[in-house]
Amino acid sequence: MAVKVYGPAISTATVRVLLCLEEMGAQYELVPIDYSTGEHKSPPHLARNPFGQVPAFEDGDLMLFESRAISRYVLRKYKSSGPDLLREGSLEESAMVDLWLEVEAQQYDKAISAIYIEIAIKPVYFGGVPDEKVVAESVEKLGKVLDVYEARLSKSKYLAGDFLSFADLSHIPYTHHIVASPHASLFESRPHVKAWWESLASRPAYKKVTAGTPTSK
């Protein structure tokens, strides 16, 4: 039975899970959740994700939420049919994957999502105007994070080590939008970060999952 992912295809957290399923060649069904009708707060969806967020994930009797937890589950379940993205055969390598996943979820995500919300979500979904002060502060914050990444990636091919891991892929959903925006220079101006991004963006799973997603202008 195919696993199910509940969420809009354009949701960055949903994309995170879809990327992992595609990397592992897994069969899955994407069940769209319509934010415009408040479906994410409807009782059936709250039964899947009690915080009323997306994505939610179903594998038989197992219901999960939180995109990174879902992704880890997927990467383990389909471990024999795709790349080793969690490195659980090595205590130290898997710890490095966990470390950079925490950095992604706390430092990177906070700064980059704030930019995306201002320049893409607000204007498109709420007819609002970007708060330039918030954008400027978030761009500065993201710049500082990317300085650390630049230093790291000058010593190590990927974030957790010389191997590609889920820690790298987890950065794709928001980065995909920002590199297509006026703030692409954040990535273009840092040569190791730029090369790292280009490597991620060349992956077939990336191209497949992001084919239908609009990028911000």
Partner: protein, 221 residues
């Protein structure tokens, strides 16, 4: 060679790591990095921890930061001793990670906003942002309603055993209850209240609180 934990023993994130080590019966040396004098932002420390935060650990030659990566590391390394902190099946493990992420992304940022504005700033004689604290308290109440529903079904967050998912909540929740007067948020949530009373009376947590109060540098199980 003993594990070294770098940080300030009263700080929430180092306490997560130390609690995990105490649960697993692993001795460690605590090395003070004085965040009150901004030691964590000085170049010497930032060479180890490029984001200038605590904790940082050294386990022999292996160095790591990010408290939740560290507790996963020790829970895996010492899977064969002490309580099982990671779940026993793939499904249980996924639930542990789900609630770890809820703590990291939803619970703690809200909790920290309250602790920062109602405790950390005032004890330094600085004004906390009451409006921000109140907004966060309302948010926390709603988050705890979700926890109440889960804890009415399972004894602990990820299932019927205590795991990392419960552990990472404890240090900041203690600040909320003991220093910010927020125990009342649990009064109308009997299962969440029982969960808090259970996890905060774990012998390993009590041992850690004694260790922190003692000002000692070396912990031996």
């Amino acid at each position: 060679m003993a594990v070294k934990v770098y940080g300030k023993p009263q700080a929430v994130c180092p306490q997560r790591v130390m609690h995990c080590l105490v649960e697993k019966g692993v001795p460690f040396e605590f090395v003070l990095v004085d965040i009150d004098t901004m030691e964590h932002k000085r170049p010497e420390y930032m060479e180890k921890h490029p984001f200038g935060q605590v904790p940082f650990i050294a386990d022999g030659d292996f160095e790591l930061f990010e408290s939740r990566a560290i507790v996963r590391y020790f829970a895996s390394k010492y899977a064969d001793r002490g309580p099982n902190l990671l779940g026993r099946t793939a499904e249980e493990r996924a639930k542990v990670e789900q609630w770890l992420d809820v703590e990291a992304i939803t619970y703690s940022p809200c909790a920290f906003s309250i602790v920062f504005n109602l405790f950390l700033l005032p004890i330094r004689g600085l004004p906390g942002n009451k409006g921000e604290a109140v907004a966060s308290m309302e948010k926390l109440d709603k988050i705890l309603e979700v926890y109440e529903k889960q804890l009415a079904r399972t004894k602990y967050l990820a299932g019927d055993e205590f795991t990392l998912a419960d552990l990472t909540h404890i240090p900041v929740t203690r600040y909320l209850v003991e220093h910010c007067g927020l125990a009342y948020l649990l009064d109308d949530k009997p299962h969440a209240k029982a969960w808090w009373e259970d996890v905060s009376s774990r012998p390993a947590w009590k041992k850690l609180m004694s260790f922190v109060a003692s000002g000692a540098s070396f912990y031996a199980p």
